[in-house]
């Protein structure tokens, strides 16, 4: 075997797609399912009111009755984290869905248009992508003002350009595919071809991106509300709980630690799921 062939076979071995181990996949999916349940039916997990104060039970360490401890006003941190999942999931899913749809429309338009239209849209995407997503979200908040709905819109707008870019590239690829060519030759109207062939085939990579994007969106939204730009206290929102916990780090670490752990676990789970989708998509192509 020549050196080159040996090198090539080694390349083939290292170039394998990293598979996610099955147990990790189940843990990630299970965690997200629990999160979904807690957002829909928080009473299944806790009977405690997340905003009821009880000064007598302030700053209690984690223990029986209060698995995550209590905060400075005696509110149960576990109940607040459970109820908080609704805000985070609504913003995470909502923002990602908006960004996905807007990105798909802008990106496929750019990919389908002729030179000038594509040029203008691509340049616009490029300019917006010069900004870090978090800074972009902050600027959007500066324009539309703080609040829960603003959070969702700001996070969505901040990530639209990334989706648009992927959608554009994918559209350019699909546009030249054999089946599109065939549809055109058979005289299928362009609009039908786009809706029935181009868009569905562009959607795949975008959905993989969106799966991972939900986690990013949740982190970004928590960051914005940590800065005080989202819901007002005492709303049980993850970022807000963390910012309240900041003042009690010396005496009550649990207020800040547990919500952060839950956010991290959420993002890890969406990434694991996204990577699995990516790997199986890559496997199908070969």
């Amino acid at each position: 075997m020549s050196i080159l062939a040996a090198a090539r076979s080694r390349t083939a071995r290292t170039r394998r797609v990293t598979r996610i181990p099955t147990p990790a996949l189940w843990v990630a999916a299970g965690f997200l399912l629990l999160l979904l349940l807690s957002a829909l039916f928080p009473r299944l997990f806790t009977g405690t009111d997340p905003v009821r104060t009880d000064i007598g039970a302030a700053l209690l360490a984690p223990g029986p009755g209060h698995p995550f401890g209590t905060d400075q006003a005696g509110r149960d941190v576990f109940a607040r984290v459970i109820y908080g999942s609704r805000y985070s999931l609504v913003i995470g899913f909502g923002a990602t869905l908006i960004a996905l749809l807007a990105g798909l429309v802008i990106g496929s338009l750019a990919g389908l248009m002729r030179r000038v239209g594509d040029g203008v849209l691509s340049r616009a995407i490029e300019i917006v992508m010069a900004f870090p997503e978090f800074l972009l979200a902050l600027i959007v908040i500066a324009i539309i003002g703080p609040g829960e709905a603003s959070l969702l819109i700001a996070v969505a707008i901040a990530v639209i350009p990334s989706y648009a870019r992927v959608a554009r590239v994918q559209t350019l690829v699909v546009k030249r595919a054999g089946y599109v060519e065939a549809a055109r030759t058979l005289g299928v109207p362009p609009a039908v071809t786009v809706l029935r062939h181009v868009v569905p085939n562009t959607l795949g990579p975008l959905l993989v991106m969106a799966t991972m994007g939900i986690g990013t969106a949740i982190t970004a939204a928590a960051g914005l509300s940590f800065l005080g730009l989202g819901p007002k206290p005492p709303t049980p929102e993850w970022g807000l709980i963390l910012s309240e916990g900041r003042n009690f780090l010396a005496t009550a670490w649990w207020i800040a630690v547990f919500p952060g752990l839950v956010i991290t676990a959420t993002v890890v789970s969406t990434s694991v799921l996204g990577r699995h989708l990516q790997a199986s998509a890559a496997g199908r192509q070969r």
Binding site: A7, L135, G223, I263, T264
Partner: protein, 297 residues
Amino acid sequence: MILVVWGAATVGFFSLRLIPGDPVNVLVGLGNVSQRVRDQIRADWGLVDPLLLQYFHYLGRLLQGDLGTSYRMQQPVVAVIGQQLAPTMQLMGLAIAFAVLLAVGSALLGRGRRTGPMAGLLELVAVSSPTFWIGLVLIGVFGFGLGWFPVVATAGFGALVLPAVTLAIPVAGILSQVLRQGLDDAAALPFVDTVRARGASQTRLVLRHTLRHAAANSVTLTGYIVGSLLGGSVLVETVFARPGLGRVALNAIVNRDVPVVLGIIVLAAVSFSLVNLLVDFVADRLDPRLATEQAYA
């Protein structure tokens, strides 16, 4: 580069006009002033001119390096940003150094069959944890718990360590992922056999040859990394109550201080463009093939 800065300034200028409310309210603060004074202020700040005229005035001043005057602080935006540039640059500089150290370390250690998945898991957690939460945990453990580092922002190097580590961790995660992939790919290239045949040791091979190949890949990430550091500095400076650009940006956004927000936008666009120029330059040096490819393209 000019296009990006111009585009950012233009989009920023017009979209910030959409902010509801009267800028005069921001200018006078909470004070109660008569309509006559308000009109006077409006005229002084050029807010009565047609929008397009204001826009061209702004562009003209921008060309001379003038970003206008802050509504809130009554001083030039260039001065406001200039004063806060140093602390943020120190923070970002140290963060990049930590990130590179951590990433190279984890990429070199995480090459084995057993350590690989471990490194992968650490990278995933590092990338997934919210920056501000990492900061809080570090303050709790090393500030309050062990007392190694000051908890509040003071002058000196000690106070810079925790914020820089906070900012570095997610970046190190991404960098390590790319480096490990790069090392893996480079290890399969034909030149590895040549270097081995020359009798070079494994250490020399990795440090002198494959690491260099892997680095060329990760340099292209620099733009993304600087961007995420800039965005992250807003959070980190808030967590650690440090002065800096992030705080200036946040205050300007909360107070609706339009000239300062616009100044930050222009600054971000300029730094993005500069970083990209630099990346192209460095990438050519690290991988001479890139330069020749461009020459023949």
